[in-house]
């Protein structure tokens, strides 16, 4: 069964197409890395799929139903740099935002929901920081607060936008651990990813993207030198490292 089906997605910015002819299907329970050069439209792709930015055309289905009906199944970890971390709130409150649907439109969070949010913070090693003002957290800790919020959503499909960007080793480990757990629980995970060297280690599926999908499929089959060259065009400055990338370092 396919968790996500994207059909003929097109996104235009300032009259320039930033994404076009995007059609692919993501099997349920897969762990997909979205990979491509800078400006390939990776973040744009997931935002368009989540209906956070306008699409010129294209349909997104989640478990064979239109996205709009299935929003409650979606969890999201945006790029850390997209919010203002000076905002006056603490870590626990941010995580509680992930329980918004369960708490209800007009209601206040019950103890049960607060406990749930705390357990999510605990899972990413952030329980001690629950009442800490978010501006006083390090970049990695802020990322883990976002992870805890996504965890609190208890979603079936997770979208993560460059979660590994600029984080410390502990946070990186927490992200990998979470992705593993989600996969074991049969959840589907999509990750915009920058570091080609770790693609083989982290993801069982790969979407090679450069304004349009170059290839999508199992990492073993798709993540080849040939396809990477097609994706990155002449810009493969990492060519000398390619063998290491393709083998994947254990």
């Amino acid at each position: 069964m396919n968790a996500i089906t994207v059909q003929q997605l097109k996104v235009i910015y300032d009259k320039q197409p930033v994404l076009q002819d995007v059609s692919f299907q993501i099997p349920s329970g897969s762990l997909t890395g979205i990979v491509g050069p800078n400006g390939a439209g990776k973040s744009t792709l997931i935002k368009a799929m989540l209906h956070l930015i306008p699409r010129k055309s294209g349909d997104i289905h989640v478990f064979d139903k239109p996205y709009a009906q299935q929003k409650h199944l979606i969890g999201y970890v945006p790029q850390r740099s997209e919010v203002d971390w000076d905002f006056p709130t603490n870590a626990l409150d941010v995580v509680l935002m992930g329980r918004y649907r369960q708490i209800g439109f007009f209601k206040r969070a019950k103890q049960e929901e607060i406990n749930w949010a705390k357990s999510c913070l605990d899972k990413v090693g952030m329980l001690d920081y629950a009442n800490r003002q978010i501006s006083q957290l390090s970049g990695g800790q802020q990322q883990r607060v976002f992870l805890a919020r996504a965890l609190a959503q208890n979603a079936s499909i997770y979208f993560m936008d460059e979660p590994f960007a600029g984080v410390d080793a502990q946070t990186e480990k927490a992200i990998i651990q979470l992705m593993k757990e989600w996969k074991e629980e049969g959840k589907t995970v999509l990750v915009v990813h920058h570091d080609l060297q770790t693609v083989k280690d982290y993801f069982d599926h790969v979407l090679l993207l450069n304004k349009t999908p170059i290839q999508y499929g199992e990492t073993q089959k798709v993540f080849t030198l040939n396809n990477l060259e097609r994706t990155y065009g002449g810009k493969i400055s990492f060519l000398d490292k390619t063998p290491a990338i393709l083998q994947g370092g254990e």
């Binding site: 989540l50 945006p78 997209e82 709130t89 935002m97 649907r101 959503q153």
Partner: protein
Amino acid sequence: MSYTFWIILTGCLVGLTCGIAGSLLVLRKMSMIADAISHTVLLGIVGAFFVTQSLNGIPMLIGAAVVGLLTAYLVELLSNSGVQSDASIGVVFTSLFALGVVLISFIGDQVHLDTKHALMGEIAFVPWDTLQINGESYGPVAVWMLGFSLLFNILLITLFYKQIKMSTFDPQFAALVGIPLTFIHYLLMTMVSFSTVASFNSVGAILVVAMLIVPGATAYLLSDRFLHVIILSGAVGVLSALLGYLCASFFNVSIAGSMATMTGVLFSLAFLFSPKHGIVFKKINSGYEAIKVK
């Protein structure tokens, strides 16, 4: 009730109402829209006058809300069509305000509404413009309008607290979990429009910006919690009004001007001495850190 009492009460209500609404704008980094709406409501007031031939409270509130929302909508429209967002604010508010100024001249001497009044307000006149029902006087109209706006603000913030907070911090995530961003946005614009028009007679279009933005910016320096920023902002507004009135009566100067000046004074104090964000403590702390490193 004495004349002085009404002036002080009006000032405090202006500070509280605008402080609460304005803090949300500061947190959303939309302070400039306050500047815009505070000017364009003039068009709403003049428009309401043309329709009803009076400067009655309720039509004025409605007119202000309509024009306030129109301002917010036009700003969105222009910036979504490729005009830079600060430029679109500049274009919209000056044009609508200018239209209001032009229309004012048609009103002539029929009522006390002129450009100077619109810009600076005159809180000293407030106690004389009372609400009359069947010949009975029920206190100044401005107090009633401010009271209504204050209740409106408090009610909406209480009802939509979570939604406002989430859409301010992380609009994309808020949209994802089903918070109606557009609805919340225009809700806030309505709050600002009401607060502005209710304060208009007292402090005018320019000084009301001080009452909207400066208390919020001050509170932001002093607190780490969303709710505290809102409450503190209202408190700073009230304190500015009280100190401003004292100052004005002591030096015999403009009351509204003194109130607005006081917001600036309180902001400066917070900017210098806030325990967490103030530059004095930052200097001391960094000096302390430097000593520790040695």
